[in-house]
């Protein structure tokens, strides 16, 4: 909530006094980065891809990809699903369709070190409809979209929301603490959105730990990151453990989410 607030106040108040400067930064040795989100759609189909990269110097244009790791996922029944390398650091399994209430353990072997993490499928409600307003935003002239869903009552739910279009992406995480059991919306507002634009909305079920992880990550990646009223930043550790050498911890996360998707054409 504070992030939202700061965005509102300071984007208007202070943006005029910003300029880009050169800064010398220290450079940390590279670490393995694991972006492992196994996605299960409402119809049971799945997209089981994992991307491996490493960290890079902050001002580098690209991050190096990792093509030479071996990856597998083992389910709670002991069944092993191997992953194949495709390209661009992406590994793929065509046989893995995660089921609810079953543990899945990721295992990565890279440079003679073993990295592991365990996750379970998190469910999500469907995205129902989109409400469009043409007088939103600070200027009162932007197109604002609200995509509605109904939170299941009486349980703690956490969501990861994506609104994706060529005009810009909005990522956010929600915690149902304040709207348990209600119909609530994901909020999409980007500049220059116009009639005819296609927007894809994705709502992922996630657990509390990933919610907290992503909440911080989004704070650190937002345009307002590091402003005078921000929290003290620190590198966020995910849920993946280096079993061989704990000092060489990896970054990133392993999660299994059910996803609801809704495509919308701006009116």
């Amino acid at each position: 909530m504070n992030k939202l607030l700061l965005l509102f106040i300071f984007s208007g108040l202070l943006s005029s006094c910003e300029d880009v400067v050169d800064v010398e930064l220290n450079e940390a040795p590279p670490r393995l980065v694991v972006d492992a989100a196994l996605k299960v759609r409402k119809d049971g189909s799945a997209s089981s891809t994992i991307k491996l990269t490493t960290t890079a110097a902050f001002f580098d244009d690209n991050v190096p990809v990792v093509p030479d790791a071996s990856i597998s996922v083992t389910d709670g029944n002991g069944k092993i699903y191997p992953f194949e390398y495709i390209d661009e650091g992406i590994y793929y399994s065509k046989s893995l369709f995660p089921k609810a209430n079953l543990d899945y353990t990721l295992s990565i072997q890279y440079k003679n070190e073993i990295f592991t993490a365990t996750a379970q499928l998190q469910s999500t409600p469907p995205l129902d409809f989109v409400e469009q307003r043409n007088d939103g935003g600070f200027t009162g002239k932007d197109i604002e979209l609200k995509v509605f869903f109904t939170d299941p009552a009486g349980e703690d739910n956490f969501y990861f929301f994506e609104g994706l279009s060529d005009r810009g992406d909005i990522l956010d995480v929600y915690n149902d603490e304040f709207f348990d059991g209600n119909t609530i919306f994901g909020y999409y507002l980007v500049e220059d959105l116009a009639a005819g634009d296609e927007v894809q909305f994705n709502l992922y079920g996630i657990d509390e730990a990933f919610h907290n992880f992503m909440f911080i990550l989004l704070q650190q990646t937002s345009d307002q990151g590091g402003g005078p009223f921000e929290t003290q930043p620190a590198t966020v550790r995910g849920n993946i453990i280096n079993e061989t050498n704990s000092d060489n911890y990896p970054l990133g996360y392993f999660r299994i989410s059910e996803v609801s998707t809704l495509n919308y054409t701006v009116q």
Binding site: G12, T139, G168, D180, G225, G227, T231, Q232, G252
Partner: protein, 786 residues
């Protein structure tokens, strides 16, 4: 204990040898307005002794029978002298006339300064509003907080932030008192202005160390501000019209020489301040100072004063926000005898923060309320012993947040963070003793207690441990409460008690120089929950209790003080240690958090430094050079050998650590029509945390951060000028006006308030973005009086 013993012996000795003695006492005020004067020196050259008026303008001194000349002197006032034949108790109220002869030096002033170096109190600076008003300031708004940051050992929390840091302490460790009432937030418009209306203020003192026992509850400093009482003789108005804000103050007698009122208001112009926003947006602040004073009779005076301030922001129809302080206090001065002065204060104060997010249709309210009773006595025992004692009782209610939906159709459920209650009590005694011609001592002891009172739904944790360490990931995680308990309000969940000794001593080396040393222990029971560098209104106070320990500070300071002809030099060095300084685990989310104990760890802080203040107090040219060399750091080690703590348990710079801090301020009175002021500030850049790498996750670029606060922003400096033009200084008319022209940051230095790192989505490259708040800012203000 030793101090008390020493004191008792002295006290006994004093009575045993006393001859026939009488008391000279009274109240000193300003001739034209009847306004009582604080800190006026009363000197008796025959005995090489004297005293000073207290916060209520009262003085009392007990001397052997005899003939004396008595001088009353105060900077900016013509010194008055009278001859006294002391053969009985004498009550002498005196009115001093403002020294309009442009600060002619009077020989006696040097004696006034001598008394100052003789006094055991060190690490304290008093500024008169006159001095503050002469300093150039940003946007032409006279600002109390910005002017004290020009003193050594005091830095601002950041550009555009009104919070301040004293001797390496955090901004929430400052006790800010306005007419004895505690203020929780000292800034307007997110720190662009401080909440004090300069026209309503009489005097202020900042204690950085050697803090007397009558103050407690915060561990770093005390900023004690007194408002004017209101003119008891004539009706007057004063005010100013500036680019950003205007102010008006009315004062006058209700009954001549007996009762007076003061009403002061200030408001900013919304439409001018934020032209960047469209017409639908509003941002403004206002505040109101009111005071009634009534002299019931010779021995009784009553004051009723109030402060109300609010900031309001509204952005289109999506967002509304308002916050501010309210204080109301009733004080009663009573003289039990001409040697025993007392003040009873009943104070209500609250801080409110409210937020309405219209587009998600909910309201968020939070705040802190307290009721405060203070009863303070000053016992002027003899010409070399003053004894102060008293008690203080504060009842707190904390509202960490209340979420309510604003419409029937709102998707937000009502939600209440649990209210918390506490009761803080203290008793103290403090003696100021002139032990010999050369040695003065101020020794005191404060006993403070804090009871965390019953509340609803206190969380219980396994092993009473609300924060767990995940060994695999090497991170701290919130523990799940195993149960909740509710207590009735009149039970005590947890209590604390602390003895806080305070001791200062001065030794006069010669007529013009002294050395002083002090030690103080302070306890602080309420904590600002904020991991940003400056107190912003989003911050929430939390009381000590089952999971949060009170902060304890020990400070020692040593100083050398010297008067030259028209100059004075103060050199001090200090060392401070703070126990139980709370720290937040990395990336903690503090807003609307009902269980802050789950993200807090107990750490420690320390600060040390050297301060030099070279000051010219008199003449057409006045000002000072202040230099501070200091270090302020903190650490939070793991609780067990497995835990990493914060920042791997290593010491790191506190966000307000500034190695070098130079402030130069000067005022020059060219003629009666023109006077000039200038400031120069130079500081080591603020510590900050930079990225040392990046990675990609879910399509976004994420920075990898280095160890906490291991880099620094670039050096901070700026130069400011102001010129005051009084068109008709000798006008006989009631209306008196002056123009203040000022330029802040003359050479347009782009000081970095922060450096942020982000991905430029247009060119897909990471970049560092400097945020600088104030470039060169010219302004003009018209001030008037009638």
């Amino acid at each position: 204990m030793k101090n008390i013993l020493l004191f008792s012996i002295l006290l006994l000795g004093c009575y045993a040898f006393s001859q026939e003695k009488f008391t000279l006492s009274g109240t000193i005020s300003e001739k034209d307005s009847g306004e009582t004067l604080i800190g006026v020196n009363i000197l008796i050259p025959e005995l090489q002794t004297g005293t000073v008026t207290n916060q209520y303008g009262y003085y009392s001194i007990t001397l052997p029978k005899g003939n004396y000349s008595v001088y009353f002197s105060s900077i900016g006032f013509a010194t008055e002298k009278f001859t006294l034949d002391l053969s009985e108790n004498v009550k002498k109220d005196f009115a001093l006339k403002e020294d309009t002869e442009s600060l002619d030096e009077v020989v006696i002033e040097a004696d006034g300064e001598k008394l100052n170096i003789r006094n055991a109190q060190m690490s304290a600076n008093t500024l008169s509003v006159k001095t503050i008003k002469k300093m150039p300031v940003v946007l032409g708004e006279v600002d109390v907080i910005k002017s004290i940051t020009l003193l050594p050992g005091v830095t601002s929390a950041g550009e555009g932030a009104s919070g301040f840091n004293v001797r390496g302490g955090a901004a929430d460790q400052n006790l800010i008192l306005l007419d004895e009432a505690t203020l929780y937030n000292s800034s307007h418009l997110f720190g662009f202005f401080s909440v004090f209306n300069p026209d309503a203020i009489k005097d202020l003192t900042l204690y950085k160390g050697g803090i007397p026992a009558r103050y407690g509850g915060r561990i770093s400093s005390v900023l004690d501000i007194y408002q004017k009482d209101g003119n008891k003789r004539e009706y007057h108005a004063s005010g100013g019209i500036g680019l950003v804000a205007s102010r008006l103050l009315l004062e006058g007698p209700i009954k001549k020489d007996t009762a007076s009122f003061l009403v002061g208001g200030r408001s900013s112009y919304a439409h001018l301040f934020l032209p960047l926003f469209g017409n639908d947006n509003i941002a403004y602040f206002y505040d109101l100072n009111t005071k009634l004073s009534y002299n019931l009779n010779k021995n009784n005076r009553i004051f009723l004063s109030g402060y109300f301030g609010r900031d309001v922001f509204e952005i289109a129809d999506s967002f509304a926000n308002s916050f501010g302080n309210t204080t109301l206090n009733l004080r009663w001065n009573h003289l039990f005898s001409d040697k025993l002065f007392s003040n009873l204060s009943l104070i209500y104060s609250d801080y409110y923060y409210g937020l309405e997010l219209k587009f998600v249709e909910f309201n968020f309210d939070s705040g802190i309320q307290n009721y405060n009773l203070k009863y303070d006595f000053t016992h002027f025992i003899s010409n070399n012993i003053d004894l102060r004692y008293g008690l203080n009782s504060i009842y707190y209610k904390f509202n960490p947040g209340d979420v309510t939906p604003t419409t029937e159709s709102s998707g937000i459920n009502p939600f209440k963070l649990t209210d918390k209650y506490a009761w803080e009590n203290a008793v103290y005694a403090d003696a100021e003793i002139e032990v010999s011609d050369k040695i003065s001592v101020q020794a005191g002891l404060r006993l403070s207690t804090f009871n965390r009172l019953g509340q609803d739904e206190l969380f219980l944790y396994e092993n009473d441990n609300p924060i767990l360490f995940n060994e695999d990931l090497s991170i701290y995680q919130k523990a799940k409460p195993i149960d909740t308990v509710s207590f009735s309000r009149n039970t005590t969940i947890k209590s604390f008690a602390n003895l806080e000794p305070r001791f200062s001593i001065s030794y006069l080396l010669n007529e013009n120089a002294s050395i002083k040393a002090s030690y103080n222990r302070m306890a602080q029971y309420i904590h600002l929950i904020s991991n940003t560098t400056s107190p912003t209104p989003f911050d929430i106070y939390a009381p000590s209790g089952k999971y949060i320990e009170p902060q304890l500070a020990d400070q020692v300071a040593l100083g050398y003080f010297r008067n030259f002809e028209n100059y004075s030099l103060e050199v001090e060095t200090f060392y401070k240690e703070v126990k139980n300084r709370l720290d937040y685990v990395d990336d903690a989310d503090l807003i609307a958090n009902n269980a802050v104990e789950q993200i807090l760890l107990n750490g420690e802080a320390r600060a040390y430094g050297l301060e030099v203040l070279f000051r010219k107090n008199e003449g057409k040219f006045q000002g000072w050079i202040a230099y501070t060399l200091s270090k302020s750091e903190q650490r939070t080690p793991g609780r067990t050998s497995i835990e990493t703590g914060i920042n791997n348990g290593n010491w790191y710079h506190s966000p307000w650590d500034k190695t070098h801090d130079v402030s130069i301020t000067a005022q020059y009175e060219l003629s009666k029509k023109w006077s000039f002021g200038s400031n120069f500030i130079f500081q080591t850049g603020q510590p900050t945390t930079y990225p040392e790498g990046q990675y990609e996750f879910n399509g976004v670029v994420v920075p990898v951060y280095e160890a906490r606060n291991s880099s620094r922003l670039t050096t901070y400096h700026h130069l400011d000028f102001s010129a005051t033009w009084t068109p008709k200084p000798n006008s006989e008319k009631r209306w008196k006006g002056e123009w203040v022209f000022s330029i802040y940051n003359v050479y347009n230095r782009k000081n970095a308030a922060s450096l942020s790192f982000r991905e430029n989505s247009d060119i897909n490259k990471n970049e560092a973005v400097r945020l600088s708040i104030f470039g060169i800012i010219p302004s003009v203000t018209y001030n008037f009086k009638f």
